[in-house]
């Protein structure tokens, strides 16, 4: 009898220890990766990193200013395309078609698209925007990222709009406001915090994407301000530099990794803590 209790107790302690250890394991890797990115990336960060063009391997100095601008530019355009489209699609799901079959299908497809392989999105955009128009371009990269944002924003916007109580809608409708005004002036206003959080998380996610940009915006060693030309981004630069054979390329790749990781994490922490929203997934 005593042995029975002992084995049960032992199994309990062992299982709970294993659980605590797995949590520790997960967190240890987070800090291990962050520590390495910080330690290896910090030496590469200086004033010229932000202001100069890439230098040839083996030469001192040089920076990734063009890639920083490129990532910023492509992310902004992708946001400008993906966010309004996503919010409107989410509006339909929450305000008009809540239980319709179309809405169910859109939800189902969105949830699949959210986790669809991003490299295939790159191949798709290559086929529709790069080859027919004769070359890699910033706009193709932005469209690829916008496609990745669309389902994320759609689902978050829907969830956040649904949180607005129906009584609020009914109150505004009872005053004689048309449905679209109720949606724009009342429902959107009530959900603005949640939607902003979702949008920030989506922006953070696509700004760290590499795979869809490899065959769309490609890369460029120089400044580029034209949307129809190949454009350097931080992530594709990391890919090319880290795969390359030169030590100073690796150092700059770590610098770029530090920059993009800190931006992504800061946006995430900001979105979660300051806006107090739950995660978008």
């Amino acid at each position: 009898m005593n042995l029975h209790y002992l084995t049960r107790k032992a199994a309990n302690i062992m299982a709970l220890t294993a659980s605590a250890l797995s949590a520790a394991f997960g967190i240890a890797f987070l800090f291990w990766i962050l520590k390495d990115v910080l330690v290896m990336g910090l030496p590469a960060i200086n004033a010229s990193f932000f202001t100069e063009l890439p230098a040839p391997p083996g030469t001192e100095g040089g920076g990734l200013a063009n890639a920083i601008l490129g990532t910023f530019m492509i992310t902004v355009i992708a946001t400008a395309i993906g966010v309004p489209a996503g919010i409107l699609a989410g509006t339909y799901l929450s305000e008009y078609g809540r239980k319709s079959r179309v809405a169910d299908t859109v939800r189902f497809i969105s949830d699949i698209l959210v986790s669809a392989p991003s490299i295939v999105i790159g191949v798709f955009v290559y086929a529709i925007l790069v080859r027919p128009f004769g070359g890699f371009s910033a706009i193709a990269g932005a469209v690829a990222l916008a496609i990745i944002m669309l389902p994320v924003v759609t689902r978050t916007a829907e969830e956040m709009l649904k949180l607005v109580p129906n009584a609020t809608r009914e109150a505004a409708l009872a005053l004689g406001a048309p449905h679209w005004k109720v949606t724009v002036h009342v429902v959107y206003r009530g959900a603005i915090r949640g939607i902003t959080t979702g949008v920030l998380l989506a922006v953070a996610r696509v700004s760290g994407e590499t795979a869809p940009l490899l065959f769309t915006s490609f890369n460029n060693a120089f400044w580029n301000f034209k949307l129809t030309e190949p454009t350097a981004t931080l992530t594709v630069t990391i890919f090319n530099y880290a795969m390359g054979p030169y030590e100073d390329w690796h150092a700059r790749a770590w610098g770029a990794a530090l920059l993009i990781t800190s931006v992504v994490l800061l946006v995430n922490v900001f979105a979660r803590v300051i806006l107090g929203g739950r995660s978008a997934q």
Binding site: R8, L16, G26, L113, W254
Partner: protein
């Protein structure tokens, strides 16, 4: 009269707003169909040239124009399975810790830390795997594996730190946050009265978890795992750096291999011949189709748990 005009304007505004939002909702479906159509159209040449042979041939010879998907599909599937085998127990442990064990003030921060791990761009995992993790593996872990577990064919190969097993491991670290946060959410759906009944008849915490919580959330957990699998199958950057890009099929997991996404990332911009490009697109089509099926399955299973939650 003026009021009537305004009423008309409101009506028109309503119709416009509704149809615009309807259009964007439909655009999601349209996009998915368009992706399939374009991928099929672009891979038509390869589909026609190789037919079914594409799926079973392990040739990958750009010079002679002979292509087969088997090595890439094999690498995608095996590296993802390795990732799941490593990630599943760890993620369940994390979910158990977060829902049943962690003291209240720790729950939030640890949960957030794990979710932050999910937001790190995947290229960082890949790069870290290549520069930090691979050297450690080749120095300490893999020689040990070869020496002591080498009698199992799986643990043979060149201990370079680059290959199928390292790729699977990096993928595992990447998908742990996804699986554990879904698992945590389904664990939270277990009504506390069920758990309390368990404790009331004298069950230990582990007995409640293993005999009440886990059976109750079974299909949700399977859904979470398949969701993680979907992520792992389609992941590019975490894999490309560490898998080694070799179109050889080998049972020895330490040997370099390749995956669909790694092949695309490495070869797509170099492919000049039509057949080569078309074969690469067909690989992309296969990947898209596999993940579509896997994710659809995950979605249905998670939905079922949510529906059955109150009934069982």
């Amino acid at each position: 009269m003026k009021l009537y005009d305004r009423h008309k304007a409101d009506k028109a505004g309503d119709a416009l707003f509704k149809s615009v939002s309807y259009f964007f909702a439909l655009s999601v479906i349209l996009l998915m169909s368009l992706i399939f159509i374009v991928l099929i159209k672009e891979s038509w040449l390869s589909l026609k040239t190789f037919g079914f042979k594409f799926f079973v041939s392990s040739d990958w010879d750009p010079v002679n124009g002979s292509f087969g998907a088997l090595p890439a599909v094999w690498g995608t599937v095996v590296s993802s399975l390795i990732a799941i085998v490593i990630a599943l127990p760890v993620s369940l442990g994390i979910a158990v810790f977060l829902t049943e064990m962690a003291p209240k003030p720790l729950k939030g921060p640890i949960g957030t830390a794990i979710e932050l791990l999910a937001s790190i761009p995947s290229i960082i995992y890949g790069m870290w795997g290549l520069f930090v993790f691979a050297p450690l593996l080749s120095e300490y872990v893999e020689p040990f594996l070869v020496d002591y577990l080498g009698f199992i064919p799986l643990f043979r190969g060149v201990p370079m730190g680059i290959g199928m097993l390292p790729a699977g491991f990096i993928l595992a670290i990447m998908i742990i946050p996804f699986i554990s946060s879904v698992a945590r959410d389904v664990f939270l759906m277990v009504p506390s009265i069920l758990k309390e009944s368990g404790y009331a008849v004298g069950a230990t915490k582990w007995e409640v978890i293993s005999r009440v919580v886990i059976p109750y959330t079974k299909s949700g957990i399977i859904g979470a795992v398949i969701l993680g699998l979907g992520r792992a199958l389609g992941e590019t950057m975490a894999v490309t750096f560490v898998i080694g890009n070799s179109h050889e099929i080998s049972l020895a997991l330490l040997n370099p291999a390749t995956s669909i996404s790694a092949t695309l990332a490495n070869e797509f911009t170099e492919a000049v011949e039509d057949l080569y490009l078309s074969s690469l697109v067909e690989l992309g089509l296969i990947l898209f189709a596999i993940t579509f099926v896997v994710l659809a399955l995950a979605k249905l299973l998670i939905k079922r748990t949510a529906l059955e939650g109150g009934r069982r």
